[in-house]
């Protein structure tokens, strides 16, 4: 009698498809460069998606000292909500403009109902309780939207592709993700370093008791920050659905672990670290999947290289993380105040 288990844990949709760089071994022609640039952009795009998730997660950890495994659930719920609205209204913009704020509200609600009491608890309690929330949200999505998930039809302007100089053809959605992600990163930087709210966030991060006793409404601030993280996760969910054209149950579980890898490498609590680490992880993961077998062929026989490459490339970011932590146990950019 086997335990009924879901097949939720698929590898995230490989943006590159089966290794495109495998043809024409040894000859570096213009074709190779085009492929490389394409893969590089894919990696960049994946990294930026990871950043959208990692920023919220690392903010929540940095300020509230909360390990939130359920961040991936907000990513999934955000995707489902946005796609539902797009399906209902037929307008991508409506999905974006209603769905993302809605995810903000859901995040705030989750914070108020379930997570507020966890701030005073230890990390084990937080991990376990937010694990419980994941189970709830996954089943909830199954219940409301059915087991098959939702498919997304992109509007024409995002569905096509863009030709960059040098005959490099990139799907428009990927360019959109890179642009949107960079815009969000810039907005977040502005918010945190230039605005009143950002000042409060920084104050809360360096000493929340002090900030509280100076009259900052810490409860409200925490809810806002959590909602902000949820909204960014929801946006990432919608954008990711744009590339895979399907919102599916458990999509958050695949990516949340990679997000954790990002914030651990970057140094938990550091947004700058999250940005750098997200780009690195995105590139390492994507380029590893396409070029690792080529690299291994330099040292091993063709057959051995082709056998080992898929396993090794799937493990690459974890090996990278282990290496970083072995050298710098606090991550690349350890926050100064903790």
């Amino acid at each position: 009698m086997l335990r009924p288990r879901s097949l939720l844990h698929r590898i995230h949709a490989d943006p590159s498809g089966p290794d495109l760089g495998a043809n024409l071994p040894g000859r570096v022609g213009p074709m190779q460069w085009v492929l490389f640039v394409t893969q590089f952009l894919n990696g960049l795009q994946f990294g930026i998606l990871l950043f959208l998730l990692a920023a919220g997660l690392t903010l929540v950890f940095g300020i509230m000292d909360l390990v939130n495994l359920a961040h991936g659930s907000l990513y999934m719920i955000g995707a489902f909500i946005c796609v539902s609205i797009i399906q209902a209204t037929g307008s991508f913009a409506a999905g974006l403009l209603i769905g993302v704020p809605l995810t903000f509200l859901i995040g705030a609600l989750v914070e108020i109902i379930a997570l507020r009491t966890l701030y005073a608890r230890n990390h084990l309690d937080q991990v376990l309780a937010t694990f419980g929330l994941i189970l709830f949200f996954d089943t909830f999505a199954h219940l409301v939207w059915g087991p098959e998930g939702l498919s997304l039809q992109l509007p024409e302007i995002l569905d096509g592709s863009i030709t960059l100089p040098g005959d490099i053809v990139v799907p428009a959605i990927r360019v959109t993700i890179i642009a949107a992600g960079l815009a969000v990163a810039a907005g977040l930087y502005f918010l945190v370093s230039r605005t009143k709210l950002g000042m409060l966030i920084r104050a809360g991060a360096s000493n929340r008791t002090m900030a509280g006793s100076l009259g900052v409404d810490i409860k409200l601030l925490f809810t806002m920050v959590f909602g902000l993280g949820a909204a960014m996760a929801g946006l990432a969910g919608l954008l990711m659905t744009g590339t895979t054209s399907e919102a599916s149950i458990g999509m958050g579980n695949d990516i949340i672990i990679q997000t954790f890898v990002v914030i651990v490498i970057g140094g938990i609590g550091s947004i700058r670290g999250a940005f750098v680490a997200a780009i690195i992880v995105g590139l390492v993961d994507t380029l590893g999947r396409s070029y690792l077998d080529q690299f291994l062929k330099l040292f091993f026989t063709q057959q051995n290289a082709e056998t080992a490459a898929p396993a090794l490339s799937a493990m690459l970011i974890y090996i990278f993380m282990a290496a970083v932590l072995a050298l710098k146990p606090q991550g690349l950019f350890p926050p100064k105040t903790r």
Partner: protein, 481 residues
């Protein structure tokens, strides 16, 4: 919770017979008789189900050594399950069916993996440790997913179970069960010896105060690593057994949800208690099996399990093991002695609660269920209504038996109606944890065919098993000073 662990064992052997030890003794006897009972009842799948529970109990006990005693929050323990399992699976692909070789490989690879990953992970602290153990497990998961020649993410069928040179025939279900049972006993004994040795005290000391242990000159890092490796090996053996049990290995064995479930078993059973994780495993699988077998609701059992987990974390951190230790109670409480509720009123209050329960259950199943069945089967929308109603039903039970007694109302609806109140020492309102322990006592009473109520009749203060556990008394409201 910890006081039960750190106490010196009483010198008098009779003094050791507490409710808790008696419960565990009875549990072991029941576990030893499972195949026999299954045979008599003609229910062969009981043995199979119990085998699965005990295998996960071994894994949970091994995690408890690391997590409960060592204070190392490993979120990647399931990796060892998979490593142990694939030791059997991959060997049998190459036609190697020797059980001794399988076991040696399961132990060897688990130990190696624990040594290498532990050496890196233990350099980190707190949340970094949680994340890095999670990442290492994920690495194992993806490695097995990518190994296409060994089944990839479809998993790998193990054609024949490990052969022990004709000594043990694992193909027979009862033999497999008793093998697992003996391994569980051995794991428990070993854990007991480890945590009570000098080594174990250093590990536990480092959990409460690492700096102090270092100052005393103990090499904490090395001790922790050793503890981590021992726990990993034990879990590797569980994985070896699981592959034999299921005839199948799967990357899912290393999935982080499995690690999360193992942590849940440890926490529910009681961290840092010897038998707690066994109880946690039993309750987890019982819940999964019973809720999972209810039509419609069963498909969505995790929508109940998730919030349950949150509630356990928020209100039940002592775990089941902690509930089995009666709360300290004053021998006699003069202020309460006059107010003790007479049996008849208690019975009436109970009947009201039972009637409320039965009525709402009937509304839920017969009326609502019947009505839903008549509707055209719209995918999911019916299910949504169904689950929402079950939620309301469960919330009602929760409010009646936990929230109300721990609030200023001080009793369930039946007790309020009969003018009774449940109070702790000195007539205080129950703490949430106390109310939880009282409900656990009631469940225990019901599960043991109401034996706990016999106590109530015999006792001068009419305190049943659950009142004794939670140190509560049922009193008449009006007579309370």
């Amino acid at each position: 919770m910890m006081s039960t662990v750190t106490q010196d064992p009483p010198a008098n052997a009779l003094a050791r017979i507490t409710l808790r030890n008696g419960f565990y003794g009875a549990l072991l006897v029941v576990l030893a008789l499972v195949p026999l009972a299954a045979q008599l009842a003609g229910a062969g799948n009981w043995t199979s189900f119990a085998t699965q529970i005990l295998i996960f109990a071994i894994a949970a006990v091994s995690l408890n050594l690391i997590l409960g005693y060592g204070g190392m929050i490993s979120f990647g323990h399931a990796a060892f399950m998979a490593i142990g399992g694939y030791s059997v699976g991959i060997a049998s692909v190459y036609g190697l069916n020797n059980g001794f070789a399988h076991l040696a490989m399961a132990i060897g690879f688990s130990a190696l993996f624990a040594l290498v990953t532990g050496a890196i992970a233990l350099r980190t602290r707190g949340v970094y440790f949680i994340m890095i153990t999670l990442a290492f497990a994920q690495m194992v998961f993806f490695a097995f997913v990518s190994l296409e020649e060994f089944g990839g993410d479809d998993g790998l069928t193990v054609n024949s179970r490990s052969e022990f040179a004709g000594l043990i025939d694992l193909e027979r279900e009862p033999t497999l069960y008793y093998t697992v049972f003996v391994v569980l006993l051995a794991t428990l004994y070993l854990t007991h010896r480890i945590v009570n040795s000098r080594f174990g005290w250093v590990i536990r000391g480092a959990r409460s105060n690492e700096a102090r242990m270092l100052t005393l000159g103990h090499p904490v890092y090395r001790y922790r690593l050793t503890c981590y490796v021992i726990g990993g090996i034990m879990c590797g053996v569980a994985g070896f057994l699981f592959a034999n049990y299921a005839n199948f290995v799967n990357p899912e064995d290393a999935a982080w949800t499995t690690s999360g479930e193992l942590i849940f078993m440890v926490v529910l059973g009681g961290m840092g208690s010897l038998f707690g994780p066994v109880l946690g495993a039993i309750v987890f699988f019982m819940m999964e099996e019973t809720v999972g077998s209810i039509p419609i609701v069963g498909i969505y059992w995790k929508i109940f399990f998730g919030p349950f987990l949150v509630l356990v974390v928020l209100f039940a951190r002592e775990g089941i093991d902690g509930w089995l230790v009666p709360r300290a109670v004053k021998a006699s409480d003069a202020a309460l002695a006059d107010a003790i509720a007479p049996l008849a009123r208690r019975l009436a209050a109970m009947l009201i609660d039972v009637a409320l329960f039965a009525l709402s259950a009937w509304l839920l199943i017969a009326v609502l269920g019947g009505w839903l069945m008549t509707l055209p089967r719209q995918p999911y929308h019916q299910d949504l209504v169904m689950i929402a109603c079950v939620y309301v039903f469960l919330a009602g039970i929760l409010v009646n038996h936990l929230v109300l007694p721990a609030s200023k109302w001080r009793g369930s609806a039946g007790k309020i109606a009969m003018g009774l109140a449940v109070v702790g020492g000195d007539g205080r309102t129950l703490a949430p944890a106390q109310a939880v322990q009282r409900v656990f006592g009631q469940v225990l009473t019901i599960a043991t065919a109401l034996i706990g109520y016999v106590w109530m009749v015999a006792d001068r203060e009419h305190r049943a098993l659950h009142d004794r556990l939670a140190a509560t008394r049922v009193v008449v409201r009006g007579r309370l000073k």
